[in-house]
């Protein structure tokens, strides 16, 4: 059974897939010519009809977001692409941009034309030097080819596109923190409303979209909304990138219609690490509540994952087998959230700190069974009490691991320490490379 649908990844196996020549050879920038001959409102309609939803985690309908931009308001509009891929486990936009930055640029031009923006930005994380090179070069090549700048393709549309490189702050993946960062401030989230569509970059109407969302636009324009909507499930249309990592025989990227299951993906990836079995996994990064082997047949679309108690998120499927200590895993994620909390909101700043203290004790076999309730109490006190969702993300692995693996926490207390051998979970445990 072939359930994969390579669209974004269709030409990644060509050595020059990242060049203008390579992209054009495979039909690149044809959708742009088609789009610039269309009425901008018609493009927004087309994207709405396709059912495309935000691929950065939240799943908000992309066309609807574009439709929120007030038109005829005599204000500058901005498009900002969120390429600050940092959610633990998430590794789809980075390989996409390395293999084909032009598909993003084509999407940026079409989206900017649709929302009537003459200035667009790509905010990329700073820890990926070669990806920055590829995107920078692609932008320069697009300018040289008359695809950016003044009077694009002679159609009278002007667009400036600037690559803005971050500097190592996870919080800048949150769209309002990203905007503050892009304006030259510390990256801290803003209170909403007003939403970016009304007051975004420089307090002007702004669309912030994920890389994969914008990169999906050229194919929708080229093939039509119906083509896109023919893939996926009832409310989760289209194809998307699923990223499998961890204790899996062959980790990697799988582009499939929304609604595929982890069981199907694991089969294609050659199974869980030989001789081991699945223990827990994340459907969409560490901020999405974890699942177990009881969830192998959950349809990986927005509704299916939500109905099972988690979130589709970034489709970052991190697989952990039975050698992995869940307390250790959760402690490490919690240390991450503590480190990345921007400090603006007290519940998140203080709460993540206390969560680390409690989890460290538990992992070391110290503390008491009551600490499990304390963890849940702290989670309850930080969730939904901050400007952004970072604290909600921090609570997810803790609450879900206690739901499925409470006994393992208690085992640490009985044992006076962690009952697992960390060496057994390493990839080189069996290869004799240690």
């Amino acid at each position: 059974m072939n359930t994969l649908t390579p669209v974004l990844s269709a030409f990644w196996d060509q050595k020059d897939s990242f060049t203008m020549e390579g992209y054009k050879r495979n039909g690149g920038y044809l959708a742009l010519a088609k789009a610039l001959a269309m009425d901008p409102d018609k493009i927004i309609e087309e994207v709405k009809e396709s059912g495309l939803r935000g691929r950065g985690g939240a799943g908000f309908p992309t066309g609807m977001k574009w439709g929120f931009i007030p038109q005829g308001d005599q204000k500058d509009h901005y498009l900002v692409v969120n390429a600050d891929e940092s959610e633990p486990g998430t590794c789809k936009d980075t390989p996409l941009l390395m293999a084909n930055p032009h598909v993003l640029i084509e999407g940026v031009i079409i989206a900017s034309y649709a929302i009537r923006a003459n200035h667009a930005f790509i905010y990329i994380r700073g820890e990926v030097t070669h990806v920055v090179r590829r995107v920078q070069q692609a932008i320069e090549d697009a300018y040289s080819a008359g695809l950016l700048g003044k009077n694009i393709l002679g159609k009278g549309f002007d667009l400036e596109l600037v690559l803005h490189v971050g500097a190592g702050a996870y919080i800048c993946g949150e769209e309002t923190a990203l905007l503050d960062s892009l304006e030259g401030f510390r990256g801290q989230p803003r209170l909403r409303p007003p939403f970016p569509a009304i007051a975004g970059l420089y307090a002007r109407p702004t669309v912030v979209n994920n890389v994969e969302s914008i990169a999906s636009v050229p194919s929708i324009i080229a093939n039509g909304a119906q083509w896109f909507a023919s893939m996926g499930t009832e409310k989760s249309k289209g194809f998307t990138l699923y990223s499998l990592s961890g204790h899996i025989t062959n980790p990697g990227q799988f582009e499939a219609p929304l609604g595929i299951t982890l069981r199907e993906l694991i089969d294609m990836a050659g199974g869980v690490r030989a001789g081991h079995k699945l223990k827990f996994w994340t459907p969409g990064g560490s901020s999405t509540p974890m699942f177990t082997d009881a969830h192998l047949d959950v349809p990986l679309d927005y509704e299916g994952v939500a109905a099972a108690g988690s979130m589709l998120g970034t489709k970052a499927l991190q697989i952990f087998d039975e050698t992995t200590c869940v307390v250790r895993a959760v402690l490490r994620w919690t240390e991450f959230y503590k480190h990345e909390s921007c400090g603006k909101c007290t519940p998140c700043r203080e709460g993540t700190w206390w969560l680390v203290q409690a989890l460290k004790n538990l992992e070391n076999g110290q503390g008491a069974p009551e600490d499990l309730e304390k963890l849940l109490d702290i989670c309850d006190n930080i969730m939904g009490r901050s400007f952004c969702a970072l604290a909600d993300g921090a609570a997810s692995p803790i609450i879900s691991s206690l739901q499925y693996f409470r006994d393992e926490y208690l085992e640490h207390l009985k044992n006076g320490g962690c009952p697992f051998d960390p060496a057994a979970s390493t990839i080189f445990a069996t290869a004799g490379l240690r």
Binding site: M1, N2, L4, T5, P6, S9, W12, D13, Q14, K15, S17, F18, E87, G89, C91, M98, E127, V128, T129, H130, R133, R134, Q136, E140, L163, H164, V165, G166, A167, G168, A169, S181, E183, G184, F185, R186, S243, L244, S245, G246, H247, P251, G252, Q253, F254, E255, F320, R328, A329, R332, W333, F336, E340, P422, S425, T426, I427, A431, L433, R434
Partner: protein
């Protein structure tokens, strides 16, 4: 810029900084690329650099400092010519990142954020670097060294100290220095974008399976 900038930087560097400011509709947005650019000159963010950016953007130096101290990629003291980041976020840590991190620090005799005496190598543990299908991941000057193990990582830092590091797994034909990489992050094109693979094997796995299955139909 109303007044001439008084700083020890060369006219060429000041001209580049001016061109960075001109990229943006509003000048303050240039703070981050300017800080990256400073690191390409001096290797880290100096007080002089802060003062210069403040002058260029007509800000208080405290405002520039506030930004510089928020982001972990801006260093307040020199790092090595090759700055190594070892991912110890959960997935890489479990897959071997913790063992790699401990072994490399022991091997070099330094602590987290430390620099070897010869100034060649510095090490920090990093968060998820968006390459989980290549775990365990080690970065050097923010270039990818995929699928590492304890021995390969030790060999990597040894080769850096000897001045002949291997090229990144997915990156240009040679590992650029920290300062050179910082210029790229400031948006200065070094002309190396065409070098290196377009994708590694894990990136292509789904595509390969889709093609094979189509061929078999």
């Amino acid at each position: 810029m109303n007044q001439p900038i008084s700083s020890p930087y060369s006219d060429k560097d000041l001209a580049v900084m001016d061109s960075i400011v001109k990229r943006y509709p509003r000048t303050r947005s240039a703070i981050m690329p300017l800080l990256h650019y400073l690191q390409s000159i001096e290797g880290y963010v100096t007080e002089t650099g802060i003062e210069t950016i403040a002058q260029i953007l007509s800000l208080e130096s405290a405002e520039v400092n506030a930004v510089a101290t928020f982001y972990t990629q801006y260093k307040r003291k020199p790092v090595g010519q090759y700055h190594v980041g070892i991912c110890t976020n959960t997935l890489c840590a479990v897959m071997g990142g913790d063992a790699i991190y401990q072994s490399v620090l022991e091997h070099l005799g330094i602590e987290n954020d430390g620099v070897t005496d010869d100034g060649k190598v510095s090490v920090e543990h990093i968060e998820c670097n968006a390459a989980c299908d290549y775990a365990p991941v080690v970065m050097a000057n923010w270039e990818f060294y995929d699928n590492q193990n304890v021995e390969s990582a030790k060999d990597l830092v040894d080769s850096m100290r000897q001045g002949n590091p291997p090229p990144p797994t997915r990156g240009p034909d040679r590992l650029v220095t920290w300062k050179e990489a910082s210029a790229v992050l400031a948006g200065i094109n070094d002309g190396l974008a065409h070098q290196g693979v377009q994708a590694g094997d894990p990136t292509l796995l789904g595509l390969k399976i889709a093609k094979n299955s189509k061929g078999g139909e």
